[in-house]
Amino acid sequence: MDKDGQMLSIKELADVLNVSQKTIRRHINSGKIKSVKVGGVHRISREQVSSLLEVEEIIVDDLINIGLERGFPYDSKVPSGDLKNKWSKHKGTINLVSPANKRNIDIIVVGTGLAGASASATLAELGYNVKAFCFQDSPRRAHSIAAQGGINASKNYQGDGDSDYRLFYDTIKGGDYRSREANVYRLAEVSANIIDQCVAQGVPFARDYGGLLDNRSFGGVLVSRTFYAKGQTGQQLLLGAYSALNRQVNRGKVEMFSRHEMMDVVVVDGKARGIISRNLVNGKIERHGAHAVVIASGGYGNVFYLSTNAMGSNVTASWKIHKKGAFFANPCFTQIHPTCIPVSGDHQSKLTLMSESLRNDGRIWVPKNIEDAKKIRNKELKPTEIPENDRDYYLERRYPAFGNLVPRDVASRAAKERCDAGYGVNKTGQAVYLDFAAAIIRYGKEKAISTGQDKDNIDLVKSLGKEIIKAKYGNLFQMYEKIVDENPYETPMQIFPAVHYTMGGVWVDYNLMTTIPGCFAIGEANFSDHGANRLGASALMQGLADGYFVLPYTIGDYLADEIKTGPIKTDTKEFDEAESGVNKFIEKIMSNKSGKSVDYYHRKLGKIMWDKCGMSRNAEDLRSAITEIKALREEFYSNVFVPGGADGYNEELAKAGRVADFLELGELFALDALERNESCGGHFREEYQTEEGEALRNDEEFTFVSCWEHMGKDKKPKLNKEELNFKSVELKSRSYK
């Protein structure tokens, strides 16, 4: 402040407002803040600032828009202006790289699932040189392939009142108001384009008899906006992205590295400049340089050991960049999916999802009388023998408006509540029924009437109904029967919630860049769009939106400054260091000549996570989880045994690397859950619930993204908060009643 305390400098004002000086300058330039020049330096009069609140009012809108949140050290780069115009405006104003220069720029993409494959293809198409990595033997096998139910888009083909805004609103609300408005709106905006794109690629979506695209509805929304390809939507979309990727491989624009695992990122002068990878076939450690690194390595649900994720899904790539400076956001936001096949025994290696779409036609229930539940568990009673009146359709009872279609977190907790109360139905007591009998009759009758057959012939009606159910869910039913050995057309399915998706992930700004310049994160690997809970059919949408339509443009904003950099050399000291770090880790792991297997530790970690950081959490459990995970991690390093050598194919070694990172992530996960003293979305803290047992959010104190900063080995990570500001929606407590 100047001598008489009447004038503030830009820096002082910035400090007071907790925003960057750049912002203040911008506002001075635009005239929103009036300044006077004193000795060639801008000064803002005390009057202007007299009431800080007043000043805040002038610029608060834009402060929100440009994402310069109080106390948060990074710019989330959300463009200013009206929500609806942000993305087009941003696209129109960010820096671009000319086609001639793109040829000189290399980009590494780690992961070739929906997000990575679509990004690689598009970046290559734009002219960049892409090196893409995946640990499976082919990009087509990425975990995205397993998505069953569908992909959302605000096409409003059904004419049921859908729009970009509604999709945006549903997603924000479904995410329990813990996501960034601007990102979500952009997602809704580009969603329709995804469908056009995929159809043009030959993706065989389901169609109606008129030859037009068909839709179904999914949990948590009131419109039919989900596009699907039987129960194989993820497969068909991934094969579409894979084909686009293949086209670029054929053109020589993408170099594909299958069976390669990213082991570390290399940061040179604060910028991501490459990765260290391990060739999983011959064990060779390799260096790859690039002007930017994109992480598209999927989610970390496997920290729970048992999840619906593929066996190889891991956090390694995200975790390695976290340790080199990328913030990790909301690690505790995990989605527990309500409709999975229950655990059958200790041997269980993974859980299988039954698509959420089944809740369109299936009704969820448990017996009303605890005695019946006991009999069922002892196999003295069959579910079909329980009369309608003795069944408790608890979702329909508790949430009449949405019934069986409540969002996933709500459905999962309700199932847990019933099972904890003793009404669970399989031998472990950890299962509820998903029943199709009513739907079979309903569809059968409709069909009988429309084809002029006898609608009162119950056998005919049933068989017609089964045909229709089969056409809709045939492969899911078949999958269920193979695993459980029961025919779901005749007897209700048994289901139970299981870990399925992680909303948390690497923090990114509006451009999808992490806090390491030049390092980007897309798809499930980032935290961006789903808040504390993801709606069904939105992950595929986000992965493809990021990959096809967002990253390829926003990356230009960063790369525009890289056109003069020239090829990235990999014989530098930074690469040496990163490589030797990887080698040291491998040596350490391989040096134990006996001990427990990697799976042993993974299972143990999973059990801690499920018991203490699972569907419902409390401070005490979370604290003990942190201690237990720490201890387990120490034991892991001294006692894990990996047979064989490091110089060839060695699945155990690959797993050891992944589990080592899970053992670190698990701790942060618990810490995050502990710090978030509220219940929201998939994060349910027992201490914070209403009298009826519904989640109790705390918008006053927790409307922020928890952004964890790695502070070094064995140091407590630092929590940075990105405030979330909602301008276009009103924060309400979610009600699906």
């Binding site: 198409e125 096998r141 469908i195 794109q197 390809a229 339509f549 006996s594």
Partner: protein
């Protein structure tokens, strides 16, 4: 359950492999086949030996990563089932089970039961796509209605998971079913028709280059395909190929 396993062990592609005998105990009938192998591997690790390497990822029959020839049959004894979906209730205590890799010159063994199927990727790269830019600036998805029967047929062909069981089951190690499925998917859709000719010629050329055998229509591929890809796709491939050749 107790089982005798006869498993192909091979250190790497360069070295010779052999069948080695193992016994596993305490197998629960509700276990999947791969979980049974997990049990074996945990035992092996306990005794300081290297576990049996096998490919797998999703373990729910969709990624196409798992393979294995079980008692002479790719993906095991059940029809329409991948190895990871096979459950031990299918076997009896005391059974002897042969486990071998998918074999074919175009599928070299990497280790034990893990084989290299990248030849499939290269076939796809040679033409298994529609050359449309990914900018999203295309026509509205509903601008071209596709008759449901065509859409359904294309979908059925697109259900292929690229596992390679067709090659593994074929006495000739032919990849015609795999290639046929992809060619048929696109040939049934208006979007795919434009490049139909180049696609089929390039894919067949690449297929031959990879060293797959010739199709003599034994039908083993269809019978072992976990996704029920029909022989009609081979017929369609032949037709598209001949058409493409004639038009040349």
């Amino acid at each position: 359950m107790e089982l005798k396993l006869k498993i192909w062990r091979q250190k790497n592609s360069g070295e010779k492999g052999a069948i080695i005998d193992y016994n596993v105990k305490k197998i629960d009938p509700d276990m999947s086949f791969l979980e049974m192998l997990d049990v074996l591997n945990q035992d092996l690790i306990k005794s300081g030996e290297e576990p049996v390497a096998f490919d797998h990822d999703c373990r729910e029959g969709i990624c196409g990563m798992c393979s294995l020839v079980i008692n002479g049959s790719p993906h095991g004894p059940d029809k329409g089932t991948t190895t990871c979906q096979l459950h031990m209730r299918r076997f009896k205590s005391g059974d002897t089970i042969y486990i071998e890799p998918f074999r074919g010159t175009a599928f070299p063994v990497i280790k034990d039961l893990v084989v290299d199927r990248s030849a499939f990727d290269r076939i796809q790269q040679s033409g298994g796509y529609v050359s449309v830019n990914t900018s999203g600036n295309t026509v509205d998805a509903n601008a071209t209605p596709i008759p449901k029967p065509d859409a359904d047929e294309a979908f059925k062909a697109a259900a292929c998971i690229g596992c390679g069981a067709c090659v593994a089951s074929c006495k000739n190690s032919s990849a015609m079913l795999f290639v046929g499925a992809k060619v048929s998917q696109y040939s049934r859709l208006p979007q795919g028709k434009v490049e139909a000719r180049e696609r089929v010629l390039n894919m067949v050329k690449q297929m031959d280059k990879e060293g797959f055998g010739n199709c003599t229509n034994t039908g083993a591929c269809e019978a072992h395909c976990p996704k029920g890809i029909s022989l009609d796709n081979i017929l369609n491939l032949n037709r598209e190929y001949i058409k493409a050749k004639i038009r040349k």
